[in-house]
């Protein structure tokens, strides 16, 4: 390939690019980055290798572009004026579960790449977690002192990582279906409530 001017992208070109990224994100997430070939991605999109190389010079470049894709749905910021109540906690844990479901493929890929030393993937994961941490921490501060708010935040963050990742790894491609069941959400809600201790606070 010649290193000339970057091609002027048409709308169709953009759509193809988008399709390549979505497909690659899925394939990398299920098969792993190393085990997926450019040819497989091209075939899944319905392109020739050459056509795919027109959009991305290498598999690495596809991965870099994937990290720039928007992740679907963040943690809802449910800060209201009064003290933190259990129903607000439920809304936060529900949205964390919804986030894991919507981003199943990219979250798997992210973890694998972080273990392989990818700093961009690590930064992205830390960024996602920081939003969730801040939401929980600020909410807990309306009820507890800083130390206690910190511990309860960390405990719930760890719980969400543990339950979601464990289920993701055990269920494989079934994860979105399993995590969408009310029983799954209820279990996380009840454990998070136990760690939050908001009921005790109100009773005492």
């Amino acid at each position: 390939m010649t290193a000339g001017d970057p091609p002027v992208r048409s709308r169709i070109g953009d759509e193809t690019r988008q399709k390549i990224l979505e497909t690659a994100r899925q394939l990398f997430g299920t098969t792993g980055f190393d085990a997926t070939s450019v040819r497989e991605i091209a075939e899944a999109v319905g392109l020739t290798d050459a056509a795919l190389y027109y959009h991305f010079k290498s598999k690495r470049e596809i991965l870099s572009a994937i990290w720039d894709l928007p992740v679907e749905g963040g943690v809802r910021r449910l800060r209201s004026e009064g003290p933190f109540v259990p129903s607000q906690l439920d809304a936060i844990t529900d949205s964390a579960v919804a986030f894991s479901v919507a981003n199943d493929h990219i979250l798997r890929l992210m973890c694998r790449e972080i273990l392989g030393g990818d700093q961009t993937a690590l930064a992205l994961r830390q960024q996602n977690r920081a939003v969730l941490r801040r939401t929980l921490y600020e909410s807990f501060l309306t009820v507890f002192d800083a130390d206690e708010a910190d511990i309860r935040t960390e405990a719930i963050l760890a719980l969400l990582t543990g339950v979601n990742m464990k289920t993701q790894m055990a269920a494989g491609p079934d994860f979105p279906r399993i995590a969408a069941q009310p029983a799954y959400r209820e279990r996380i809600r009840s454990w998070a409530r136990a760690l939050a201790g908001l009921e005790e606070q109100q009773a005492g």
């Binding site: 792993g32 798997r108 973890c111 694998r112 972080i114 273990l115 030393g117 690590l122 994961r125 830390q126 977690r129 910190d150 511990i151 309860r152 960390e154 405990a155 963050l157 760890a158 719980l159 969400l160 990582t161 543990g162 339950v163 990742m165 464990k166 790894m169 055990a170 494989g172 454990w191 136990a194 760690l195 201790g197």
Partner: protein, 202 residues
């Protein structure tokens, strides 16, 4: 070769060999991953023949499974102490300490789990194995029927702590998790997760 009549020492040698095989396998799996390690390599590293390894373990998977059920997990502090909230917390922290002492192994296991390797995935269970015996059963005794649910919750929370630490700290894992700050937070989280026994006697 041991002389006849020295059966006890022969059994001891056999146990030693088994332990050496496990150690060698653990470090090779950690270095190269489960799939990329062969029984031959494990044997070579110890100067053993392949059949010598197969005498102790019928297959690579069998060896891997034995590694995941490592009895040295144990030496439970609970056995010497009365069962209280404090000793229960200590037991859980002791268990978790096994993992923080072996980051390479934890990373390898997580990699295999993310790839969906069956033995590794099946290992993430709180309902059997050493976690069940050493954490769930005493918890049941301590707080009654909610013990099972609490045990499952603590297991998942600690899995989350371990995975977050493995992913976030990378090569600095050992330094980070042994810092006083990390340990203090960890203890506080476990204390929070395990409810006080009914009656508040603890």
């Amino acid at each position: 070769m041991p002389k006849s009549g020295a059966r006890a020492s022969q059994a001891q040698t056999s146990r030693d060999t088994r332990r050496r095989i496990l150690e060698s396998a653990r470090s090779l799996f950690a270095e190269n991953g489960y799939s990329a390690t062969s029984v031959r390599e494990i044997a070579r590293r110890l100067g053993l023949s392949d059949p010598a390894v197969y005498y102790h373990f019928s297959s690579k998977r069998d060896l891997y499974a034995a590694l995941l059920e490592d009895p040295e997990y144990g030496s439970p502090p609970l056995e010497q102490q009365p069962l209280t909230h404090d000793s229960m917390v200590a037991q859980v922290l002791h268990f978790f300490g096994w993992w923080t002492a072996r980051p390479e192994f934890g990373q390898m296991l997580l990699r295999e789990q993310l790839a969906g390797e069956e033995t590794s995935v099946a290992f993430m269970s709180s309902s059997d194995g050493p976690w069940h015996d050493q954490i769930t059963l005493p918890l049941r005794k301590l707080i009654g029927s909610p013990g099972d649910d609490v045990s499952a919750m603590v297991f998942d929370m600690l899995a989350g702590v371990l995975w977050d630490a493995l992913l976030s700290y990378g090569d600095h894992f050992s330094d980070s998790v042994h810092q006083e700050y990390f340990q203090r937070r960890l203890r506080a989280m476990v204390e929070l997760a395990i409810p006080a026994p009914p009656g508040g006697a603890a």
